[in-house]
């Protein structure tokens, strides 16, 4: 029995490893084709890990990616494609910044309030897509893409100086948040920087994600729906309620994704707030196999590629384009999709065969005993 467990683990690791190797090889092909060294960019980027300030940057960036990817993964586990994580995350960050700038409660109330606002905003925004799917049969993919665009416009409107906005230079911001809503980080010294306090929120969310999915009835229903919609329906899962719930929860988690940065460092929502995190998170969730541990590694990898690649621009004697990292990220997503399918079918077949063999062997020994 343990054997099968080990095999499962092996299969789980085989997919991502294959994808990474393939992506690195293909990136090298691109490098060779453009007449560059196919090795040096990697060593340059790997050197960056040694610097503690880069490490802090990576961890901070990864916390955003991690929460957003958990939101995506939650949907993936029941075949719901929440492409709207990006809109949910930005809208939630904006409303949180606005509330944080206009309310001033003591910190032990202010921070939970801000978390709640973010989760509610994200949840409501994703809930729109959920309601549309459940009542009108609108594909959540289409609805969430549209809602991303609407979120962009809504944010542009709400951050106008006449509404909630405040101009700082030519940057439109939502005004500085009250200090009671700032979450202190772990200061590692002047040159190194600060790890966001809400990195621990990301870790906690990962734990909750695992517990909910693997140890609760709700999680079982969710996974069953993802693995076989028809079997779940026959087992008594209310598909509509499940879709709506998961959409809302996924949105709520998305809403939290921007908070490590907002409450830990930026303290205002402005034009320079990162966008596209929600889309990046889709790739990360895929690479991490919707598994909280895997997603953590994938988020760190992605953050590493993000934060280590600028060094390529300053390489001597000859600079490399930092877009190499982007190419690699793209190739990883591409390779991941293929390799997982290959590994999955291969693994299933292999197990079928081995079960057959073991049963045959057991039968034979029984026969021998009888003789």
């Amino acid at each position: 029995m343990k054997k099968f467990d080990k095999e499962r683990l092996l299969l789980a690791v085989a997919g991502p490893v294959m994808a990474l190797v393939a992506a690195i090889l293909l990136t090298s092909v691109v490098l060779i084709a453009s007449g560059k060294s196919p090795i040096e960019p990697y060593t340059l980027m790997l050197e960056q890990i040694g610097y503690s300030d880069v490490q802090v940057l990576i961890v901070n960036q990864a916390s955003l990616y991690y929460i957003a990817a958990l939101a995506v993964a939650l949907g993936f586990r029941m075949n719901l494609f929440n492409i709207g994580v990006d809109g949910q995350y930005r809208l939630a960050a904006m409303t949180t910044a606005v509330v944080g700038a206009h309310m001033d409660l003591p910190a032990f109330l202010q921070v939970p309030l801000l978390l709640l606002v973010a989760a509610l905003t994200g949840g409501i925004w994703a809930g729109v897509a959920g309601v549309l799917k459940v009542t009108r049969g609108v594909s959540e993919v289409v609805a969430t893409i549209m809602l991303n665009a609407i979120a962009t416009s809504l944010i542009a409107y709400l951050t106008l100086p006449e509404v909630f906005g405040e101009l700082v230079g030519d940057n439109k911001t939502t005004g500085l948040m009250k200090e009671s809503g700032w979450v202190p980080g772990i200061d590692l010294g002047q040159d190194v920087g600060e790890i966001y306090g809400l990195v621990f929120l990301a870790i906690a969310l990962g734990l909750v994600y695992w517990i909910v999915l693997n140890r609760t009835r709700f999680g079982f229903d969710l996974r069953a729906t993802g693995e076989s919609e028809s079997a779940a329906a026959a087992s008594g899962v209310d598909a509509k309620r499940m879709i709506l719930t998961v959409m809302i929860v996924s949105g709520a988690v998305s809403g939290l994704a921007g908070l490590p940065l907002l409450l830990g460092d930026a303290h205002t929502y402005s034009l320079s707030f990162p966008t596209g995190v929600g889309f990046t998170a889709i790739g990360i969730a895929l690479l991490g196999r919707n598994n909280p541990g895997g997603i953590a590694l994938a988020a760190l990898l992605w953050a590493f590629l993000d934060k280590a690649s600028p060094a390529l621009d300053y390489a001597t004697p000859e600079p490399y384009e930092k877009e190499i990292a982007t190419i690699m990220q793209g190739l990883i997503v591409f390779a991941v999709v293929i390799s997982y399918e290959v590994v999955r079918t291969w693994g299933l077949r292999r197990q079928q065969k081995r079960v057959g063999e073991e049963l045959a062997a057991a039968a034979n020994t029984k026969k021998e005993v009888a003789v």
């Binding site: 009108r136 049969g137 693997n214 996974r223 329906a233």
Partner: protein, 513 residues
């Protein structure tokens, strides 16, 4: 004509897949016309003249017969007049009676099967592999199929025929190979073999029969269905909402929406097995859906132990004691890629030992899965393997074990032994009988008429969404049921004692053991 018989998981399907190029052999050789060959894809097999008719038809419903036949082999005879001529020629030659321009969706099961056979012949097959071709046919259609096959044989083609129904195999095959656990255990000559001998070769033990013991029917009504009516596509599944009144194509005849279940009423008592016979697609699926609650009735009521459960959700119904052996275990009964113990939880996630309140109880579920594996003889190396790696019969035993573990009061058993080998079949029957003695009410839906007759206390026939006939399982024969299943006979089927000796032998009857 060569028949291949064997238990489930014996390796029949694997052997056929290798012959048809869908899987590669690890060792050994295949020779066609004395020449050694190796296939890497079905296309290779087709060029060598081997064609396969799958158990589940691979036809596009909204295309015509002609289009379906040329699909994928447009290069052979084009897609126009030439192909039509060829189809007619094949059809006439083997007496298949296929009309090239009929829409596949208008065809019955038997016609579709003939289209599948024609498809294979069209591609130039000289050897046909038929995977359980009779599973979906009523007796009369089976006879017609065998006539077709004899025609093919007479024209010099070879047929490899896989079946669980031993009587058929004996009547049609020239040669029989029995395989068990992946190896050939024997061959038989039909004229010198009885079904019982053949079955004993297959399982290596004694043959079970689906006879019930003396009646255990009580007068306590467990489930009462009154005037149940379901319209076509009246429900909603995940993500797709279809409203019964808003359809564009749903009202073909005079604005009437097709009733897939029309005014169905029946009562099943504690200790009673009610069998429903019928050709697939006559409302059985909708009846099951309405009973388990995945698709609600458009009108009519369901009462369970005196309570009106019509508005209840599936989960509430299952929690209160409705067991469910689904007709399609892969789609409805299992999570194929999940380990066995998670499959043990499926459908009973709110109940002990699977859950403690809000939380799952993996330990409890695992322990109980071990018990089921033991008690129901599920052959598996462990409870952590995926459900997909078990053979069909063992998957079914797991499902039956799971459903029986929650002491159901009412069991919906749809094709409980479909695709299950003889040994497992007997165990499943025993379990149903055992529970019946303890007061379980069972709705048995099956395509196996012997099973229906042997296991049921009362029999109904469903045709076109209505319960058109009833029969006494003690006297009715499969042939009589068959004619009611095609709509030819209605009302109470009285057994006519015309040629009693042959008909008595036709099916195992209900008698005290």
């Amino acid at each position: 004509m060569h028949a291949l018989v064997g238990e489930n998981g014996a390796g029949k399907s694997t052997l056929m897949k290798i012959l048809y190029g869908m899987q590669k052999p690890d060792e050994g050789t295949i020779a066609v016309d004395g020449e050694q060959v190796s296939f890497s894809s079905p296309a290779d097999a087709i060029t060598r003249g081997i064609g396969m008719v799958h158990q589940h038809f691979m036809l596009a419903d909204n295309l015509t017969v002609l289009e379906n036949v040329v699909l994928g082999s447009e290069k052979l005879y084009g897609i126009g007049g030439n192909a039509r001529k060829k189809i007619k020629e094949i059809s006439d030659r083997y007496g298949l009676g296929v009309r090239p321009d009929a829409l596949v969706e208008d065809l019955g099961v038997a016609d579709r099967q003939r289209v599948e056979i024609l498809k294979v012949l069209f591609r130039g097959a000289k050897t046909l592999i038929l995977d359980e071709p009779t599973a979906v046919l009523v007796p009369q259609e089976v006879d017609a199929l065998f006539d077709n096959l004899r025609e093919l044989k007479a024209e010099g083609l070879s047929v490899i025929f896989i079946s669980h129904k031993l009587g058929e195999v004996l009547s049609v095959a020239d040669d029989i190979t029995v395989i068990r656990r992946g190896t050939t255990v024997g061959t038989a000559v039909p004229s010198e073999t009885t079904p019982r001998q053949l079955a004993e070769m297959m399982v290596g033990s004694e043959l079970p029969t689906p006879e019930t013991a003396e009646s255990t029917v009580t007068d306590q009504a467990v489930i009462t269905v009154a005037n149940l009516t379901v319209f076509a596509s009246g429900g909603a599944s995940l993500g797709t909402e279809a409203e019964p009144t808003g359809g564009i194509t749903l009202a073909p005849e005079g604005g009437e929406i097709k009733r897939v279940l029309d005014d169905v009423s029946f009562t099943i008592h504690a200790g009673e097995v009610m069998g429903i016979a019928g050709v697939e697609g006559n409302g059985q699926t909708e009846l099951i859906d309405a009973l388990i609650g995945t698709k609600n009735a458009d009108s009519g009521t369901l009462a369970f132990l005196g309570e009106d459960i019509t508005p209840w959700s599936t989960r509430k119904r299952r929690e209160s004691g409705v067991g469910y052996i689904p007709e399609d275990r892969h789609r409805q009964g299992l999570l194929l890629e999940a380990p066995l113990w998670e499959n043990r939880i499926l459908g009973h996630v709110t109940e002990a030992p699977n859950a403690k309140g809000f939380w799952l109880n993996p330990k409890g579920a695992q322990d109980d899965t071990r018990r089921i594996v033991e008690e129901f003889d599920v052959r598996t190396p462990g409870i952590d393997v995926t459900a997909a790696s078990l053979s069909g019969g063992n998957q079914q035993k797991l499902i039956v074990g799971r459903e029986m573990s929650h002491n159901p009061k009412f069991l919906i058993a749809a094709h409980p032994t479909r695709g299950v080998d003889v040994g497992a079949q007997a165990q499943i029957w025993d379990r149903i009988r055992e529970a019946r003695r303890e007061g379980l009410a069972v709705l048995l839906i099956s395509a196996d008429l012997d099973e229906l007759i042997g296991l049921s206390d009362t029999l109904r026939v469903i045709y076109n969404g209505r319960l058109v006939a009833d029969a006494d399982p003690a006297t009715v024969t499969p042939e009589e049921l068959g004619s009611a299943m095609t709509g030819a006979a209605t009302g109470h089927l009285e057994h006519q004692d015309t040629a009693d000796t042959t008909e008595e032998a036709a099916g195992p009857e209900d008698e005290a053991r």
